[in-house]
Point group: C2
Chain length 153, copies 2
């Protein structure tokens, strides 16, 4: 039931970019240092997020990454789905990653009912929370990530 490290890194990187939204691009190197994410690995992840349309990059010297859309427009659900795949615990209750399962009678499977409830519960949280929400929370918590923002400005 766990998120992979890759997914966690993606969210952490996006949070940094969201805190710097409207500013110039942020270098991979800076995100890497501030968030303790291996630089080369982070390159892959950010590049992948470009395919999602969540970030855009500027190449060359003074290059870097920035959000491609406003933070309130990017939900955690979309990020996790893109990086990890289904949010559902079993794929027979996933709507975008549905696969038939091996149980004898899917339509009348009591386990499936419960898993669907679990899925609903998770989706409800992840769909509601946007990067903008994370920024608000960060502000409320007075986190180190916020200090990052001030430093970046």
């Amino acid at each position: 039931m766990k998120l992979s490290v890759r997914g966690e890194y993606a969210i952490r990187a996006l949070l940094v970019l969201a805190l710097n939204y409207g500013e110039e691009v942020v270098r991979i190197q800076d995100i890497s240092k501030q968030q303790n994410i291996p630089k080369k690995f982070l390159e892959q992840i950010l590049n992948d997020l470009k395919a999602l349309g969540a970030v855009e990059s500027r190449r060359g010297a003074a290059g870097g990454y920035r959000l491609a859309r406003p933070p309130q427009n990017i939900t955690l659900a979309s990020v996790v789905r893109h990086v990890e795949g289904a949010l559902a615990p079993v794929s027979c209750v996933s709507d975008r990653f549905y696969e038939r399962c091996t149980c004898p009678d899917e339509a009348r499977c009591p386990i499936r009912e419960v898993m669907a409830e679990a899925r609903e519960a998770v989706v409800k949280v992840m769909e509601r929370v946007t990067l903008a929400d994370l920024c608000e929370r960060a502000q409320r918590l007075g986190s180190a990530a916020q200090a990052t923002m001030e430093y970046a400005i």
Copy 2:
């Protein structure tokens, strides 16, 4: 965010045993056939569930498995935790499988807050649902699993 096949098989097997609770032991072979689970793989899983105290076995000819406790006494949460590990999406919000994460300031991490909410949502479902609940649902759904029960009696 997905359950492994192993975890799914465990639950399906336990459901069969729960539907036959009070009766004689059920053979691995029967569970295997009814639920489309590879027999040898199921052996491992059931054996593992014995360590949890959820099932007990009788050896030799006319041997098999049965629940070691009443179905209303076995929650999905306990099963999944035993077979899969943490229910939480990231281990820094898990209480029984806690591990510090690599982010700069765990105490003030806005992502952690959200993940804790997601965890709560899942735990709430899995902790509430017992094998007895699954049996009730099966009855209500009139599922093939129930037909299984009748056959077994």
